[in-house]
């Protein structure tokens, strides 16, 4: 019997004694409430391709996604044991020397297990208007549906910018300074 209300237990005639408490009892982690957890990545620790180049931005390590050509950043990892199957939010922070225009990004996901195909699982696009003051941080975000993930999956994410896309009107380079993978987990 689990005691969830001491007053009710007493009124029901139960006497609580030390013998009722198992000293070696431990808490089953499935009984711990879920919460939002994070995995963070330095973009410069990933693979970069196209026009992308490592840079520093203030005290931040950054990867520049240029305005002259398509640029890509890739990160590969594994879902943490704490992960439970739910939507996953990918957020990245960036800044630019321009104060107007939109940056359009494509985020690609590969969430797979041993013996599964290496092909892309999903992709999402997002267009973000740059901060009206130059050189301020901006945030872009996409959500990958829970149906794309299974427990213990290995995951790869790729962020790309194609400045030739008509929706990308930034007209300037931008520096990505951080990635965060936000997931629902236990622990």
């Amino acid at each position: 019997m689990s005691i969830t209300n001491f007053s009710a237990a007493r009124r029901a005639g139960f006497k609580i004694t030390n013998r009722g408490i198992k000293k070696t009892a431990v808490i089953d982690m499935t009984k711990v409430a879920t919460r939002t957890l994070f995995m963070a990545f330095n973009p410069a620790s990933g693979h970069i391709a196209g026009g992308a180049a490592e840079a520093t931005d203030g005290i931040f390590a950054a990867v520049t996604l240029v305005d002259a050509s398509t640029s890509n950043i890739y990160i590969t990892s594994k879902l943490p044991e704490e992960f439970i199957v739910a939507d996953v939010i990918l957020t990245w922070y960036w800044k630019s020397a321009t104060a107007s225009g939109d940056a359009k990004f494509t985020a690609r996901l590969c969430a797979k297990a041993d013996s599964e195909d290496i092909a892309e699982t999903d992709n999402q696009t997002v267009t973000t208007t740059v901060n009206a003051t130059a050189n301020k941080l901006n945030k872009s975000q996409v959500t990958f549906d829970s149906s794309k993930f299974a427990l213990d999956d290995w995951i790869g994410v790729m962020i790309s910018r194609d400045p030739a896309d008509v929706a990308d009107t930034l007209g300037a380079d931008l520096n990505v300074v951080g990635f965060v993978i936000e997931f629902t987990g236990r622990g």
Partner: protein, 189 residues
Amino acid sequence: MPLTNISAYRLAGHQIEDEDIDPDARLETSKFATRTLRKTIPAVACLKAGAGVVSVVSGSVLAGVTLPDANAGNLYMSFPKPAEYDSGDVVLKILWNSAATAGDLKLTSDIKTATTGSTTASGATDSGTDTADGTTTDLSELSITIAAADFNANEFIGLNISRDPTDVADDIAADVIVFAIAMEFTGRG
């Protein structure tokens, strides 16, 4: 008042009520059951050594590092022993892929758990082999087990994952791409 002896509390005539429960009480992590936890290191983030040991993309999304068939290749990483580690062996799970559809890949791990006064020489060597998937676009997972004694000795860890294609147990005869190294251990939290 904290209820540290429930029998004594009751014998003294007290009745335990909801109000006796400290609303600021916290669960100690030591009371959590242990479970398998993991720390994952992207291969691209490792220090790379050896000719042709370079970061690449396989498929359209996954980035990794090539360990060539022509010469030895190494991936180096260093990190603190996870605070959540409790006990037991540690299993390295390594995600990899190759254009080959037959043959075995052998990877070797050299680990050192160090502290003040330690050297940085390898403390233990372990290895694992895995047969290439029959489909070139499919992923494979290789496991290496590190004994608890070789992991738990000290607090700071150096780890080298290497491939020696001249090893007789490595007969895949092709370059391989290592994507990430997941270190799985029994931990609490």
